[in-house]
């Protein structure tokens, strides 16, 4: 296994709020790794510490305890940032610049110039399907277009790691579909993607692995398949099963002492249920 793209170890981030001695523990002893080449999703409700974790990884914030590394560089090191493209939550960028000018600005900041920069801009505009809007000012872009120009901006210097904070939030279903396709394309192209979302169903299909974060702590982690599977249970999805067949199956089950039917119905998002279950569990723990 090569060096991990992101390595977060025992990360704790405490905010002191106001003048009083009030503290918010936004991230609580969090550890995880994002392997090079994978798409990793940090999933949790609003306020669970996802953005804070990303900002520490980027060096926009300092860790209260623990550390974050990017391809072996301490976060905050300019060489770490050189390997990262970041799309913040609800990005706006300069409204007075056109799409093309925006990419040019970020490209120059990354040290690109001349025909190399020009080619890269053309390539990225094509990738995010904004060639037609390249000359328009961002003030007139839709939310989905802003998100896509933002995505193009993250890739400008050919970074190895792309960090996306809520890439599909607030975007309509079509726009969100486009963004997910782009993320899959990034993975194909060998990028490592570290994203976060509070919308499980929107990102589960693009993530190789997910971590579920709640109140700053990692609650579950693994591949989607691992997380969803419940070893003691077996699900069967049948097609065109007649009522007679179903009743036969029920008879069979009732003839067995140990087995019983827990649920029956049409399949749906199970990660969401897992998530709700964790939240419930946490609530019980707290009220206990």
């Amino acid at each position: 296994m090569s060096e991990p793209a992101v390595e977060v170890s025992n990360l704790t981030k405490v905010f002191s709020t106001g003048l009083s001695k009030n503290y918010v523990v936004a991230v609580d002893n969090l550890s995880f790794e994002v392997a090079a080449g994978e798409v990793y999703g940090l999933i949790g409700p609003n306020g669970s510490g996802k953005s804070t974790t990303m900002k520490v990884v980027l060096g926009l914030m300092a860790a209260s305890k623990g550390s974050a590394k990017v391809f072996g560089y301490e976060s905050g090191d300019i060489r770490a940032r050189n390997e990262i493209g970041f799309l913040p939550e609800n990005p706006y960028f300069y409204k007075h610049l056109s799409g093309e000018e925006t990419l040019k600005f970020y490209g120059k900041l990354c040290g690109l110039k001349g025909s190399e920069l020009k080619d890269r801009i053309a390539e990225l505009l094509k990738l995010v399907d904004l060639e037609g809007a390249a000359k328009r000012r961002l003030g007139g872009y839709s939310k989905g277009m802003l998100q896509r120009i933002g995505l193009a901006q993250t890739l400008i210097q050919n970074p190895r790691l792309v960090i996306l904070d809520e890439p599909t939030a607030g975007v309509d279903p079509v726009g969100s579909r486009q963004i997910r396709d782009l993320i899959l394309k990034l993975k194909e192209d060998g990028y490592t993607v570290f994203l976060c979302s509070h919308l499980l169903e929107q990102v589960q299909e693009v993530c190789d692995r997910v971590g579920i974060i709640f109140k700053g702590r990692m609650r579950r982690e693994g591949t989607l398949d691992e997380l969803i599977r419940i070893e003691s249970q077996t699900a069967m999805t049948l097609e065109n099963a007649s009522p007679e067949l179903i009743s036969k199956i029920h008879d069979l089950i009732s003839s067995d002492d140990a087995a019983k039917v827990i649920e029956e119905g049409h399949p749906r998002t199970t990660l969401e249920r897992l998530f709700i279950q964790i939240a419930d569990q946490n609530r019980k723990e707290e009220s206990a």
Partner: protein, 304 residues
């Protein structure tokens, strides 16, 4: 999983630890930002003001008229420079934070000092261009009026230029255009640079633009009272340690804007001491370095 089939991306190219090019990119972007905020429109206002005072006959003699035109136009230029420096600088960083462009900029391989320098340079480029344009317009205006008055003076004498006329012309020329006026403009520019760096320092920790603007203006005004403060404290006390410390603190924290005041003399026709120019340039440089370093000190660990 498809990891085996896709090739991972190569490590990024090396980045310079400090890059003037990045500062320049940020400065030009700040310039564009200010231009597209239509800040250059005030130049038209300035031109109108200039035309108005130029064509208004409020003075008894040509020499007085010229002197007034100079005082008003160079006074307006000076006011513009420092006020613009404060307001523009105070708005820029909070605006970047609000737009979240600060996140995307600072998450690129950009150093925080490069960002601050870029903002400062951008504001100074705008002020530099504006002052140059205004200077050229003023210079043209004054020279045109001067020539007009001289022609008038000569026109009144029928055949020979008398001693009286010669004196009148000399007086007009004395109150007319002098190349030294460029130095007065340079002084306005340097003053604006210092006040902009003070504003940057304030906006690295203040959360509201209004607060930054008010405090910057206060610092600017109080900064004209260095001599007064020194005299006051020295007279009032027996030089106790506390007073000495306060005085030192004042002198360190508040830049001495009196180093630029000799430019008012230039506008009124006084000759320039080269020493004053060197002192001004040297102190401006020193103030810029100190205030940018202090800004970096608060900005480098700032969390967004």
């Amino acid at each position: 999983m498809s990891e085996s089939t896709t090739t991972l991306r190569a490590p990024a190219r090396e980045v310079p630890l400090f890059s003037i090019r990045r500062v320049w990119t940020l400065a030009i972007s700040t310039l564009t930002q200010l231009v597209r905020m239509k800040t250059f429109y005030f130049l038209f206002a300035f031109a109108v003001l200039l035309l108005a005072i130029g064509n208004f006959n409020f003075a008894s003699s040509p020499a007085q008229a010229l002197s007034t035109v100079k005082k008003v136009s160079f006074g307006a230029m000076d006011l513009f420079a420092w006020l613009f420096a404060i307001v523009a600088t105070a708005l820029l960083i909070p605006r970047d934070l609000e737009d979240r462009t600060l996140y995307t900029i600072l998450s690129k391989p950009v150093r925080r000092i490069e960002y601050l320098l870029g903002k400062l340079c951008g504001v100074l480029i705008v002020i530099g261009i504006s002052l140059s344009v205004m200077f050229v317009v003023c210079a043209g205006m004054i020279q045109w009026k001067e020539a007009g008055y001289i022609a008038e003076e000569i026109g009144t004498t029928e055949n020979q230029i008398t001693e009286e006329t010669r004196q009148a012309i000399l007086l007009i020329q004395k109150n007319g255009f002098h190349p030294e006026l460029a130095i007065a403009t340079l002084a306005s520019f340097m003053k604006a640079a210092v006040v902009a760096s003070v504003t940057i320092l304030l906006s690295t920790f203040a959360s509201s633009s209004l607060f930054t603007i008010i405090i910057s203006v206060l610092v600017f005004l109080v900064g004209h009272a260095h001599t007064m403060a020194t005299n006051f404290w020295l007279a009032e006390s027996d030089n106790s340690i506390v007073v000495q410390m306060l005085l030192k603190l004042f002198k360190i924290v508040i830049p001495n804007f009196q180093i630029f005041s000799f430019s008012e003399g230039i506008v009124q026709g006084a000759t320039v001491m080269p020493a004053a120019i060197w002192q001004m340039a040297g102190l401006t440089g020193a103030y810029l370095v100190v205030f940018m370093l202090l800004s970096l000190l608060t900005f480098v660990d700032k969390e967004f």
